[in-house]
């Protein structure tokens, strides 16, 4: 693991892994979508609308999972000063925002026919909206602070503070009286969902997770290249500056 802290080794690993991960993601997505559209039955109450679940639930799980990845990376930055931790954290934030956006929009499109409202300010929806805003704030923070080291530390602290929102999202449906339904897959009494719907859901969740892993690796690779480019630009600017600095005039050698 320590070897992959070296960015050059990490780039080599990424170039090998990415095509395989991308192919596996595409295959799993194809299988998951086929099961979700053509094999899984319509719900006895919700009808065909239940098919939104195969997008909404994996996106919701991933929105929290990505934040946990970022929290681990923030600890890596602040505690162990791992050279790739802040690159991993910076690369994950826009992806987290993307999957949270999918979760919110598909939830809204599911809520309108089922609840009769596009949006309600209940605890689960509001805490996920807060998560989306945290992701956007982190992206903005990285762009605002020019020094990458300072930006990494500020983002890491902000990420750790924001992690308090994750248990709030998870347990909001138990702690408060919400319109959103309680957990129906990861619960003490086992899944409360029929196997014919559970398997497509789990396959879609795995496909989404692999999609994130692939995109995250590619985004970290970009981050390493961006830093390499920054370093090269500084070296080139230093070289150009020293070329134009006037040298002290020679007094000539005594003969």
């Amino acid at each position: 693991m320590k070897n992959y802290a070296n960015p050059s080794n990490f780039l080599r690993l990424t170039s090998v892994l990415t095509p395989w991960l991308a192919a596996l993601t595409a295959a799993l997505l194809a299988v998951g979508l086929y099961l979700a559209w053509f094999v899984a039955p319509p719900d006895y109450q919700q009808g065909e609308t239940v098919r939104i679940m195969y997008l909404h639930v994996p996106a919701a799980w991933l929105s929290m999972w990505i934040y946990m990845v970022m929290t681990s990376a923030a600890l890596g930055t602040l505690v162990w000063r791992h050279p790739l931790a802040d690159a991993a954290q910076k690369a994950a934030a826009p992806l987290g925002a993307g999957f949270t956006f999918i979760c919110l929009v598909t939830g809204s499109l599911w809520g309108k026919p089922m609840w009769g409202a596009w949006w309600v300010w209940d605890a689960r929806l509001t805490s996920v909206l807060v998560l989306f805003l945290i992701y956007l704030a982190l992206v903005a923070l990285w762009r605002t602070i020019e020094d990458p080291g300072k930006a990494a530390r500020a983002a890491a602290i902000f990420t750790l503070v924001g992690a308090i929102n994750i248990p709030i999202i998870k347990f909001s449906v138990d702690w408060w009286n919400t319109l959103h339904q309680p957990a129906s897959v990861f619960r003490l009494g086992g899944p409360a969902i029929a196997g014919s719907m559970l398997w497509p859901l789990l396959i879609m969740a795995l496909a989404f997770t692999l999609l994130f892993a692939t995109l995250h690796l590619m985004a970290i690779r970009n981050e390493i290249l961006r830093r390499r480019l920054r370093r090269l630009s500084i070296l080139a600017a230093d070289a150009a500056a020293s070329e134009f600095t006037p040298r002290p005039a020679s007094l000539g050698a005594a003969r």
């Binding site: 070296n6 960015p7 050059s8 559209w37 319509p42 009808g47 065909e48 609308t49 098919r51 939104i52 997008l55 909404h56 996106a59 050279p83 790739l84 802040d86 690159a87 826009p94 992806l95 993307g98 956006f101 999918i102 929009v105 598909t106 499109l109 599911w110 309108k112 026919p113 999609l211 995109l215 590619m218 985004a219 690779r221 970009n222 390493i224 290249l225 961006r226 830093r227 390499r228 480019l229 370093r231 090269l232 070296l235 080139a236």
Partner: protein, 57 residues
């Protein structure tokens, strides 16, 4: 499926998710191409020096 009165909501959810995922993939690939093009402007010697200096990132 098309007989269901809420098919439009299902189709919209899948369409928006597809566009969002495609946008994430597009942005990452475009970023990669731009970075590779910009890096190619520097001579290999400078790139080696920058790589050697990367241990601390």
């Amino acid at each position: 499926m098309t007989a269901d009165p809420h098919t439009g909501f299902v189709a919209a959810a899948y369409a928006i998710a597809f566009v969002a995922v495609a946008a994430m993939i597009f942005v990452i690939l475009r970023d990669y191409r731009t970075l590779k093009r910009d890096l190619a402007r520097f001579p290999a010697r400078g790139e080696r020096a920058a790589r050697d200096d990367e241990g601390s990132l």
